[in-house]
């Protein structure tokens, strides 16, 4: 196995990102979509940190910290929405959640 270079990390990031999108596209359940969304965030972070390490400056890691913070904020709002949907419709099956009432 040759020495591990930047491309290995980028490839891994890409694979993770695609799996995330696959999850978002195919899952019916709202929370499963949120889970796959977290996957995509992680893929982005991985690339950022890989870049930060290989062209040596710290901005990538700083940006990664910000991305984690934003992902946290996004996830809270996402779960809040899911809970209120669950209160109204007793299930969180995205296909049937289409009324704008209430």
């Amino acid at each position: 196995m040759s020495a591990i270079g930047l491309n290995h990390f980028l490839a891994l990031g890409a694979v993770l990102f695609c799996l995330g999108t696959y999850g978002v596209l195919t899952r019916r359940n709202a929370i499963a979509v949120l889970l796959s969304l977290e996957l995509m965030f992680n893929a982005v972070n991985l690339n950022l940190v890989a870049f930060a390490r290989f062209m040596p400056n710290l901005d990538g890691v700083v940006l990664a910290v910000f991305v984690i913070a934003v992902a946290a904020a996004e996830a809270t709002v996402g779960v809040a929405l899911v809970l209120s949907i669950y209160r109204n419709f007793r299930h969180i099956d995205l296909d049937q959640v289409d009324t704008m009432k209430g």
Binding site: N7, I31, N42
Partner: protein
């Protein structure tokens, strides 16, 4: 100081990341998907360690796996009646989505692998950079102190903006998820409350 990560560690962690991510996407039970997500987060934290971003690894475990994933697990537990896991309505048209994602993967890999990045892995991180307040930065590669000063020095505005963002999302989430305020008080119980 030449930086070369241990290949065995890298391939092990990469396999774990891919495996857990697949599990998140394909898991039969929703709770297993949650667990798999936590597995991915820990594997990615390991990769950050490999890339010597120690602080980020700790933050990832603490914030991501410790708060966000746990919150999602709570959401799963709250919304999911325990007795019958929803096996039936799991995925919609899986094959078309898989084809789409593979095409996306091909494009991404084509783009990244072919281009040449001007990297200089064998130098320590920004040795010359010293923050204005004159406190000498430890020489070690991305040490916590260096990251700390980096966060506050050039990135002060984004740092404050993110804290405001988190506050706003917190309050927003509370308002959205709060139970309907017009909950009728139980007639009999209420006026019996202790004086």
């Amino acid at each position: 100081m030449i930086y070369d990560p241990n290949p065995v560690a890298f391939w092990l962690l990469a396999a774990m990341v891919a495996g857990c991510a697949l599990a998140v996407v394909r898991a039969r039970k929703l709770f297993h998907a949650g667990l798999a997500l936590v597995g991915t987060l820990f594997a990615v934290a390991g990769l950050y360690g490999l890339l010597q971003a120690w602080f980020l690894a700790a933050v990832q475990v603490l914030v991501y796996a410790g708060a966000i994933a746990i919150m999602l697990l709570f959401a799963i537990m709250l919304t999911h009646n325990m007795m019958n896991p929803d096996l039936k309505s799991l995925t919609t048209q899986p094959w078309t989505a898989a084809a789409l994602c593979l095409m996306l993967l091909a494009i991404l890999l084509g783009g990244t692998l072919s281009s040449t990045w001007q990297t200089a892995p064998d130098t320590t991180l920004s040795p010359t950079w010293t923050p204005k307040c004159g406190f000498q930065v430890a020489e070690a590669i991305p040490s916590v102190q260096a990251l700390g000063f980096r966060l506050l020095d050039p990135f002060t505005l984004p740092f404050e903006m993110v804290s405001v963002l988190i506050l706003v999302s917190l309050i927003g989430a509370l308002v959205v998820a709060r139970r309907n305020p017009a909950l009728p008080e139980a007639p009999e119980g209420r006026e019996e409350k202790a004086p």
